[in-house]
């Protein structure tokens, strides 16, 4: 299990290779990568991510440990950035390894639902028209009830 919270970019290729390398005994590896994208209605200049140092690391560890126990994972990786990110930049990734496909998929899905609503990150979008905090969606909170 590895949890990383950092401002710098991460190397998706190297992280994926290292994760897969350690997981020869797993049948299934799933990765999810979140990328900053333009808004539906306006070009985005940047996304700024604020977080709660200390609590963030604890929350991510806790979520990752829950995923391991619940989906019988052989390994899990969570990387999440903070600070100023431009469109096209990779915000975060999770990777899951399990003996069976369904577990690896469900665990990645579970991690994303929990990261979205239970890890202390707040996104702010900066466009030519101004800046605004991204509002949490009711559907994100509702998604947790699936698990």
């Amino acid at each position: 299990m590895r949890v990383v919270v950092q401002e710098e970019p991460f190397d998706l290729a190297a992280e994926t290779a290292a994760f897969a390398q350690g997981e020869g005994s797993s049948g299934a590896i799933v990765t999810f990568t979140g990328v900053v994208r333009d808004l539906d209605d306006a070009p985005l200049e940047a996304m700024e991510i604020e977080h709660y140092p200390g609590m963030t690391e604890k929350a991510l560890h806790d979520i990752a440990a829950q995923a391991v126990a619940r989906f019988d994972l052989q390994d899990v990786l969570v990387i999440h950035r903070y600070g100023r990110l431009v469109p096209g930049a990779q915000i975060m990734m999770v990777a899951t390894a399990a003996r069976h496909r369904r577990s690896a998929f469900d665990a990645a899905d579970f991690l994303m639902d929990y990261l979205k609503s239970r890890a202390p990150f707040w996104k702010r979008e900066i466009t030519a028209k101004g800046e605004s905090w991204v509002a949490a969606k009711d559907e994100d909170e509702a998604a947790l009830k699936r698990w």
Partner: protein, 81 residues
């Protein structure tokens, strides 16, 4: 005890953290004290349903007890991922 504010709560109150001496027994009581301080606190805490709270870096509820707490943080619903 340290009180931390994040995202628009931090912006409305105008600072990221402050040290507060309080005898509040619960988070809700602490919020009442803060609301009574100044208008900017009253505004930031006007709608608790729009806020989340963590005590000693664990998410909790507004009726959570504060006995022994060293750090209380207020912030909007999280938007990670």
């Amino acid at each position: 005890m340290d009180i931390l504010y994040f995202a628009w709560v931090r912006e409305r109150i105008g600072l990221p953290r402050e040290r507060v001496d309080s005898t509040a027994a619960t988070v809700a009581e602490l919020v009442e004290e803060l609301r009574g301080r100044e208008e900017r606190y009253a505004v930031a805490f006007s709608d608790l349903s729009a806020l989340r709270v963590a005590v000693d870096q664990e998410l909790t509820d507004f009726d959570a007890p504060l006995a022994g707490a060293r750090e209380v943080a207020f912030f909007p619903p999280m938007t990670g991922g």
